[in-house]
């Protein structure tokens, strides 16, 4: 195949991997990276490398399953492990994704406040816009918006370069792991893994690849899409940490939210960095708020065998529409409660995601090694080591995280 043909092939299958990876950097992700950079400077950068390796391996597995079986992950879990497994998995996903949506709405509210717009106006406006976009617009239109919005993330790269970090130190901290035995440090490193590898994105990626109907022969191109997506995700994470590490950390500014980072950047780096951070956060939040509730409603209905579709009425697809509507409405309301403990909710959602992830990964790894399903496309041994390694690491870290959250003494 000529180089040109190969490039065209890549363009035709491109999309699912890159979009998934970008939406992965939603409000909770950006928050975690900002907080990590402000609190520990560059010293958490090294965690991005093992995280990227795990992310690539896991996303590649899920993408391969989508291509080979032509089905979503929730379908496969239901068909191979029955109602119980599927039901509890979906229940967990529903709760965790409700938390994710709250986090995204909170990110949206906070970034609007920075831009001088009241959250009591902008949250309802955002929720209504999402609703109209999804129920009245076509997926093609939404996909175009998503691909364009992915470009906005590069604002973080610009702000990272504008921060003029000490590249020598950045490089050293990225390549040489230096673990600090501090509970906050460990909680944040768990946060970085947890917000980068999330349960819902496994479902989202596999379904969008299955839906796109990518053929086995074109799988290599699809894999490239996934790998590029993973790298983009982590490059963005890298620059968020670098920006906050270069500007906030040396000045001893501690933050709890991504929006605080934007505010804190104003006196240090000027209006541009401030605006970039606020706009990027708004973008990341609204993207997450579009996709996460929709994806949740789809996978749950798919697994349980309920009718689904955004252009259906409440009567035609009651479960689908209620899950979707309630997730958006309730999360908007939660964010608008005056004095709501949003940071607590975000931590809670991170814990739930962390608890859910090992199960998702166990199912994914078992399914991909099922010869009956995957034929010659089962996992090579090295993949299984990394995948099981990630399962164990995430499980251990999550338990630690839960313990550290409940007993914050250490």
């Amino acid at each position: 195949m000529s180089r040109w043909k190969r490039f065209l092939l890549f363009l035709s299958v491109m999309g699912p991997g890159i979009i998934t990876a970008n939406i992965d950097n939603d409000a909770s992700g950006i928050t975690t990276y900002s907080v990590a950079g402000a609190r520990f400077g560059y010293s958490l950068l090294w965690t991005l490398i093992p995280t990227t390796v795990s992310l690539v391996v896991i996303q590649e597995m899920v993408a391969r399953m989508g291509v080979v079986t032509g089905k979503g992950l929730s379908d496969l879990i239901r068909e191979n492990y029955g109602v119980k497994a599927a039901f509890y998995m979906m229940l967990g996903l529903l709760i965790a994704n409700f938390g994710n949506t709250v986090a995204n709405m909170a990110g949206w509210a906070a970034s609007m406040e920075i831009l001088g717009l009241s959250k009591y106006v902008m949250v309802p406006v955002g929720a209504i816009t999402i609703w109209l976009l999804v129920t009245k617009g076509s997926y093609r239109f939404v996909e175009k918006i998503l691909l364009f919005a992915c470009l906005i993330y590069f604002g973080y790269v610009v702000s990272g370069l504008m921060a003029k970090p000490d590249w020598h130190a950045v490089l050293k901290e990225t390549l040489v792991p230096r673990i600090q035995w501090d509970s906050e440090y460990i909680v944040l490193s768990i946060g970085i893994i947890g917000t980068t590898i999330t349960p819902w994105m496994q479902f989202y990626l596999q379904s969008s690849i299955a839906e796109k109907g990518i053929k086995k022969e074109d799988y290599k191109a699809s894999r490239l899409d996934v790998v590029i997506g993973c790298f983009i995700t982590d490059i963005i994470s890298f620059f968020v940490i670098v920006t906050c590490g270069a500007l906030l950390f040396p000045n001893g500014i501690r933050i709890n939210e991504a929006a605080e980072a934007a505010t804190a950047l104003k006196p240090l780096a000027g209006d541009y960095a401030h605006m970039i951070f606020a706009l990027c956060l708004a973008n990341a939040s609204i993207l997450g708020a579009i996709i996460v509730p929709l994806a949740t409603a789809y996978y749950i209905c798919e697994a349980m065998g309920w009718e689904a579709g955004v252009n259906k009425s409440f009567k035609e697809a009651p479960q689908f529409m209620w899950i979707y509507a309630l997730t958006i409405i309730l999360s908007s309301l939660v964010v608008m409660i005056p004095g709501a403990h949003l940071v607590f909710l975000m931590v809670l959602s991170a814990v739930l995601n962390g608890l859910l992830l090992p199960f998702v990964l166990v199912f994914a790894t078992l399914l991909i090694n099922n010869k009956g399903l995957m034929g010659e496309y089962t996992n090579p041994k090295s993949y299984n080591y990394i995948s099981w390694g990630t399962v164990v690491t995430v499980a251990v870290l999550t338990i630690f995280f839960v313990v550290a959250t409940i007993f914050p003494l250490a």
Binding site: K71, Y139, K212, Y298, G305, W306
Partner: protein
């Protein structure tokens, strides 16, 4: 008669199976289903004893109800069972799979299977696709019922009778779908096309190969080009040829032009000579020109034909033709002299000749002209079909308004459908 009344499959799976002495043989793992008349029946059960699997034939089963499972044989006398792809297993192959519910074209799942005693057999009578099935599998059906009773409501059963369900290929493990096929062929071909494009490739291909040729041809023309090529490419050339033959020549040419050349040739060889020539002729035109869009199925009579004769002949000739709204009038060399609309034909005196009543200043188009120009002409002069003629004025084919609309506004199944 081992089974009286009815039960749900989930109520007996994992239940202990006893031998005549009251010892536990093992736990019920699955039920082997075979074709019965009229409904499928259980031919035996698979019992799990520690790690080993045992096969207990239906004749050896003593009691089979939701409280007790017992057999005449013991663990030692039962045959060993090995999982294989030849048997259709209720839990492994049917439970949790997707069904296309023809009643509104929605995809539901098999939440449970209802089994009833009938003339000594355990017969699969229905699948449970409702909430009750899910709750039963979760073990909270009873609790939920009690809970709902507090609010003076109840849960409806949502069962689909097995009469409406047929397996596509029971022996294949990869098939995850049971489609109500009789109902599927009652569906409009456009809806079937819709279903096929929603399924996984494998399932879509199986559903497609099971359709009768006429339905398959109609459904195929509603699908997007890549999907068409994929389905036809995977078929035996003879079967593919039968389907292509059923399509109108212009649609057939569209499908063939998307196939690898060798495959297209192979299929053409299996098509009736006359039809194949028509298709080949169309394949010679560029896809986005009037020639690429036209069909060479039309009705043309000589000018001296009378209205009465034309009407008689039309009744015979139009049966085979997709769209016939005009009668074209051509001379011996097939040159287009004029046309007569059906309305004109019906309103004219039966004895008058076509040459008298025909419209001679008919708009025509050259086959190499861009399809958009054809669309503009059809729109401007409010035509139903536009004749395509070559430099000599020989009538080659017609571009109908249907073809134009399909090109301007792809049918629903052709739109790239994606759910998030």
């Amino acid at each position: 008669m081992p089974l009286f009344g009815d039960l749900f499959l989930s109520e007996i799976t994992k239940k202990p199976v006893f031998d005549p002495k009251g010892e536990i043989i093992g736990r019920m793992r699955d039920a082997i289903v075979v074709k019965g008349d009229p409904l499928p029946k259980v031919s035996g059960i698979v019992v799990e004893r520690k790690k080993a699997l045992l096969h207990i034939k239906w004749e050896n089963i003593n009691i089979f109800n939701k409280r007790i499972l017992s057999a005449y044989c013991t663990a030692d006398t039962a045959d060993a069972y090995e999982m294989n792809d030849k048997d259709l297993l209720a839990v492994r192959d049917i439970l949790d799979r997707q069904i296309v519910d023809a009643n509104g074209v929605k995809v539901v799942r098999v939440n449970d299977i209802k089994i009833e005693g009938y003339e000594g057999d355990a017969v699969l009578v229905a699948v449970d696709v409702g909430m009750r099935g899910i709750l039963r599998r979760l073990g909270i059906e009873h609790g939920s019922e009690e809970f709902l009773r507090l609010f003076k409501t109840s849960m409806p059963y949502n069962l689909i009778s097995w009469n409406y369900i047929q397996h596509l290929k029971p022996k294949l493990k990869t098939i995850t779908l049971t489609v109500p096929r009789q109902m599927v062929s009652d569906l409009h071909p456009a809806d079937i096309a819709d279903l096929i494009s929603q399924m996984s490739r494998e399932e879509g291909a199986h559903l497609f190969t099971d359709l009768d040729i006429e339905t398959a041809a109609d459904a195929l023309s509603e699908l997007q080009p890549e999907m068409q090529a994929q389905l036809i490419n995977a078929m035996e050339p003879e079967k593919a040829a039968d389907i292509i033959e059923e399509m109108s020549p212009d649609e057939a040419a569209d499908v063939l032009s998307d196939l690898p050349t060798a495959k297209a040739k192979e299929i053409l060889e299996h098509i009736e000579k006359e039809e194949a020539e028509d298709i080949q002729e169309l394949l010679g035109h560029e896809e986005d020109t009037a020639g690429g869009l036209m069909t060479n199925e039309f009705i043309a009579y000589p000018p001296e034909t009378t209205v009465a004769e034309a009407m008689e002949r039309f009744k015979k000739d139009a049966v085979e033709i997709e769209s016939a709204y005009y009668i074209y009038v051509t001379d011996g060399a097939e040159k287009l002299l004029g046309l007569v609309s059906l309305r004109e034909l019906l309103l004219s005196d039966p004895s008058s000749k076509l040459s008298v009543i025909m419209e001679t200043k008919a708009k025509t188009i050259h086959p190499d002209v861009d399809e958009m120009v054809a669309a503009e002409i059809i729109s401007k002069y409010n035509l139903i079909a536009l004749p395509v003629v070559d430099n000599e004025g020989v009538l080659l084919g017609i571009v109908s308004i249907d073809d134009i609309i399909d090109r301007l506004l792809p049918p629903s199944a052709k739109r790239n459908r994606r759910r998030l």
